[in-house]
Every structure is written in structure tokens, then in C-alpha cells.
């Protein structure tokens, strides 16, 4: 047993964190609400190897697995990254690899962007994607954007661009059924990882505020009621963390308990984000209830991802069906 990341994995995480601190500021996240995703930022992430992280080396990617990816998704959540790293890199790439590898060399360089829909009503980032992987009657189809018709369905998280997609199935990709099941777990795992980052960002922003904001002549963070709110939020996210990392290992290792492990991860991470969002709002008080305060950018991302890929109650039911 060695339940840690390697020094290389942590260094890569730090490098991605640095990049996102520069290129994905709160102002950038806000900009995505009005003008959409940034192809420049996507290209920068592709140049670092992040976009093609899961692409096999023969197609120009880094050929890494979910253990290598989970920390980067966490950073994406922390930064509030608007681009579809989850859909493209965590879910789409392994599906294309299972289907024979077509398009992957373009995906690795960032010149072709994937999105994916496995039975949800709306498709994330469909306006940005060059290729949409869409499910129809249990089979997956690869459809180019020119061949679909999009209708915007604004999400509560304005940086998360949702669309209804009208399209005509032609020839499905040849993907074994177990790979399609695994794709759902990859999506739920990736959402859980982003939710960890979102939760911790909300807690850190709120702790900063609680140190600065004074009432009764002292920082509000010196009051026990405020301290305990934040301690509870931290407890939820720090307990979720190893659960999410274990799920990443189980997906990468094709562990027979993968489904239970992923559902635990998504349930804890969704609940942690919900707790963090409510504590962030309460501790900020009225300023947190405004459009101008940045916390809503992360709160709403947390709500959206908490509900996507199965919410906490759905995943607990899945665990219960397996263990009770």
C-alpha cells in the first residue's frame, strides 16, 4: 500500500496551478459567462500536456491514467476553469481510444475539442467542441459540430455552457459495453475531483474574508460560531479527498469495486461542495449574496457539478444497492 502521489505528479499539479492562477483568474471566469470559453487557455493547457494527458503516447499524448489526472481536475475546479477538461480529457479521450483512436492526435494538440453526453439531457461545451460523442440507444456516436443543431440552455453556472443538441444517428462507434459503463464512472470521478477543488477554493476565499472583515472591533473569524462553520466545511472536503483519490486509483486499476468507490467519491464531494457553498455564503453575509462578490462563481459551479453525473443521493443509493 502506498496511498500518495509521486513527486512528479505533485510537481505537475503545481505547474498547472501556476498556469491557472495566471490565466484563469476570477475575472477570466467571469468573462466566460459573457463571451464563452477561451481557446487560448485551452491551447496553453494543451501545450503543457494537460489536454492530452490521457491520450496514448502513440497519438502524441502523455498516456497517463486517472491517478495522474485527478489532481489536475482538482486544480481545474479550484481555478473555476470554464473549458471542458472533464468531457474532453477525462471521459471523451478514453472512449475514442476504445473506439480505435481516430481524432486523438488532433485532440492531444488541442486543435480538436471533444465533448460527450451519456444520456443527460444537455451537452456541456457543445459550442466549443469540434466533435461530440453522443449516446443513442446504448451506443455512442461521434458527430461533428457542423452536423448538429444547438439550442442554448443556460446553466446556473454561466461559465458552463449547456446546449440541447438535435442530431441524426448514423453509424455508432464500436465501443464495448464495459467501456461505456466505465465512461460514466470516469465522468462522476472527474466531477468529484473538480468538486474537491471548488470546495477548497470556497473555504479559502471565505477564511480570507473572515480574517479581513471586522465587526465588534475584531475579525469575524475570531468568533467561534464562524470558526466552527468553516471547520465543518473543511472537515467535509478533507474527508472526501482520500475517497476521491481512491476512486481514481480504482478506475485506473479497473478494480472490481470501481462503481462503489466512484459513487462514494461523488457523494462525498457533492455534499462537501454543498456544505462549503452554504458556509461561504453565510460567513460572507450580505456581500456574499451579491453578483459582484466572486463566491457565487464557485458556488454555482458546485451546484451544477453536484447535480451532474448523479447527485449525492443517487450515488448513495448505488452504494446501498451494492452493500446492503
Amino acid at each position: 500500500v502506498r496511498f500518495t502521489f509521486t513527486a512528479e505528479q505533485l510537481e505537475f499539479r503545481d505547474a498547472v496551478s501556476d498556469l491557472l492562477q495566471k490565466q484563469c483568474t476570477p475575472a477570466d471566469v467571469r468573462a466566460a459567462w459573457s463571451v464563452g470559453c477561451s481557446t487560448a487557455r485551452w491551447k496553453a493547457l494543451a501545450d503543457m500536456g494537460v489536454v492530452g494527458l490521457t491520450v496514448p503516447a502513440e497519438y502524441g499524448g502523455l498516456g497517463m491514467d486517472e491517478v495522474g489526472l485527478v489532481l489536475l481536475l482538482e486544480e481545474a475546479g479550484r481555478a473555476g476553469l470554464p473549458e471542458p477538461l472533464l468531457e474532453n480529457t477525462a471521459v471523451g479521450v478514453p472512449l475514442l481510444a476504445a473506439a480505435g483512436g481516430q481524432w486523438l492526435d488532433e485532440v492531444a494538440t488541442g486543435s480538436a475539442i471533444l465533448t460527450v453526453n451519456l444520456g443527460q439531457p444537455y451537452v456541456v461545451g457543445a459550442d466549443l467542441a469540434d466533435l461530440l460523442l453522443l449516446e443513442h440507444q446504448g451506443a455512442l456516436h461521434a458527430v461533428e459540430r457542423a452536423d448538429v443543431e444547438l439550442t442554448a440552455r443556460p446553466s446556473v453556472d454561466g461559465a458552463r455552457r449547456l446546449f440541447s443538441v438535435a442530431w441524426t444517428p448514423v453509424t455508432p462507434l464500436a465501443i464495448p459495453a464495459p467501456e461505456l459503463d466505465a465512461a460514466f464512472d470516469r465522468g462522476a470521478l472527474a466531477a468529484a475531483a473538480e468538486l474537491l477543488g471548488i470546495s477548497r477554493r470556497l473555504i479559502d476565499m471565505t477564511a480570507d474574508y473572515a480574517r479581513e472583515r471586522h465587526q465588534f472591533g475584531q475579525p469575524i473569524g475570531s468568533f467561534q460560531a464562524v470558526k466552527h462553520h468553516l471547520a465543518d466545511a473543511l472537515l467535509a472536503v478533507e474527508l472526501a479527498r482520500p475517497v476521491v483519490y481512491r476512486a481514481a486509483w480504482s478506475v485506473a486499476a479497473a478494480d472490481p469495486e470501481r462503481g462503489v468507490h466512484v459513487s462514494m467519491a461523488k457523494a462525498y464531494a457533492s455534499d462537501a461542495a454543498d456544505r462549503a457553498a452554504r458556509v461561504a455564503l453565510q460567513v460572507h453575509g450580505a456581500i456574499g449574496y451579491t453578483w459582484e462578490c466572486d463566491i457565487h462563481l464557485w458556488m454555482k459551479k458546485g451546484w451544477a457539478l453536484g447535480a451532474a453525473w448523479g447527485d449525492a443521493a443517487w450515488h448513495r443509493r448505488r452504494v446501498a444497492d451494492a452493500v446492503i
Partner: protein, 373 residues
Amino acid sequence: MDLTYTAAQVAFRDEARDWLATHVPTTPLASFDTAEGFRQHRAWEATLNQGRWSAVSWPEEYGGRGADYIDWLIFEEEYYRSGAPGRVNQNGIFLLGPTLMEVGTPEQKARFLPHMAAGDDIWCQGWSEPNAGSDLAGIRSRATLDGDHWVLSGQKTWASRGAFADWMFGIFRTDPGAERHRGLTFILVPLDVAGVTVRPIAQLGGETGFAEVFLDEARVSVDCTLGEVGKGWQVAMATAGFERGISLRSPERFVMTARRLIDLYRARPNPDLRDDVVRGWMDAEAYKLHTYWTVSSLLEGGTVGAEASLNKIFWSEMDIRMHAAAQSLLGAEAELDGGAWLDGYFFALAGPIYAGTNEIQRNIIADRVLHLR
């Protein structure tokens, strides 16, 4: 990251399992909060020691196996899965033992550790006083030097297992002019010397699980001083860190509680409580993962600081939730006295209070992890 066990770890697990299968008493022991139960549990500690299983993480020279954290967790998993008795000397083996190894003199280690491992000496804690609970630095029990002896006077309380224990470890004010965290000294106190009076206290569940200890000019040799005179607070905090952290509540206890909860649900299915039951199972698994995560980091040179407080809040509140769910499943039978779940519920209810209340733990997290002052 590799979450599989090595061949050596599998062999260690098999060895522990085989030994436990042939040695764990087939009929449950009486509660160690009774005189007869205490005697039985002391004998069990001796049996464990004969198999060199009583303190697996200690060095071999003191009766341990030099097990690393992962092997320690493996042993604990097998221990609780086997249905083996609770550890009557956990305060000694898991709290004082590691502190002794860190700050004790070679003579103290040789004198105390083997008897601790063998169950000859059962230890209790002497932290709290009537007016020093959460605010531990307010302790007033004092120790005055008289030749080569400390003369102890004052009162300690809430000493778990104190009713029948042989020794107590605690902190005493040795510099009457110093206040709060200064001027305290960590002293090991034999409970059979003149001037020591132990009065058992009946707990919520009715048994005398803890005791108050009155000290009236009790004389204790200075070679029972642990660490430097005046540095008792620092030594005590090292001990408390072990307690709140991984050593007090190894995860498999809760995993076993969760399994019993699922068995209870299967016997008395109630869809209204299904979510509570699965939450209990998930929480126990999550706590186990958090423990493996923590010890893996320790094995690679990391440290556990205030994060130990997160652990303590989580296991204590999870334990209550699981027992409350079981009591709900039992319905009208939940109120019957003497039920195993009711006893467990009583014990669980103490969790957020002892080893530093959960309010204190939340303060520690806010102060030291989130830097809120």
C-alpha cells in the same frame, strides 16, 4: 499510488489472523469496567504479549514487532474482525508508550515498557481536574520536590479505567509561580502509594468506567518524571496528539460497527432508514481511507498536526450516527436496558467529549489550519 498489499503484508495479515483465530476467547469477556472483567482483560493482554501481539508497532526490544503504520493497521483490522476483546491498556500502549519512547530515559523505557506490553501495569490518564477540563492549562494539582521525591497534592478526575488501574500519567504544577502552560511537569504516578485515594464514578451507562483520583501528599520518586521538569505541557501535547490522531480509534472498529448495522438492517429492513445505514457504512470506509492516506504520508516523512483534530471529530460523530441508526432500526426495543447497541450508543456519546471536546477540536482546526484568530 498503489492500493494493493505486498506479499509481506499479506503474510503478516495471515499470521495475525491465524494467531487470533486460535487465541481469541470464544465467550465474550465481562466489561473491563467491572473488577472481574478488568482481571479477564488483563489476562488477555498477557496472552497477547506472549504472542508478541500486544504492541506490534513498538520496537522488538520492548516486546513489539517494529511494525510500520500499514502493518499496524493490518493488525488492527484483523484484531477487530476476529471479535477480540477491547484493549484495557490502550492508554498505556497507544498513548504513553510512544511518548515514553520519544522522551523517556533508557532506564524508564526498560522499566515501564515491558510491563506495559505484558499487561502487568495498566495505565490511566491524569489530565482533567474539577476546574480544568477543556481549559487544561488551568490545572492546580501540584508537585513539590522533597529530596529525591515529588510530593503530590490535588485532585484528578475522569480517569478512564482509573478504578482498577495500576499507574496514572499526568501533568502537575511544579512551579507555583508559573501560570497556564508553564511550570508544569509530566509525572508517572503509582496508584498504590500512601496518599492516593481512587474513587470510582458511575458513568451514563451505569458502570464505573472512570474515576477521580485524590492526592494527599503522595510521594513519588523523581525518576518517575517524564521529560524535563517544567516542560510537562509539551510532553502532554505530544501524547494528546497520538490520542486524537490515528492511534486511539483505528478504523476497523467502525467498519465492524457498520457491518453489524447492515446485518441489523437486513434482519429488520426499514426503507426509511436505508440512507442512514449506507451513510454509516460509507463513513466507516471513508475514515479508513483517511487513515491510510494519513499514514502513507507519515511513512514518506510527512507530519500530522492539527489535521488530527479532523479525524477526532469525524470518528466520534460517525460513531454516534451509526448507533443512533441502529437504535432507530430497533424501534420499540431500543429502550430495553442492557442491549449491545444501547451500550454502544452510551459509549459513542462520550466520543465528542473526551480527548478534547469537539468544540475544542473545531477551534484548533480554525486556528491552525485556517488561521482564524
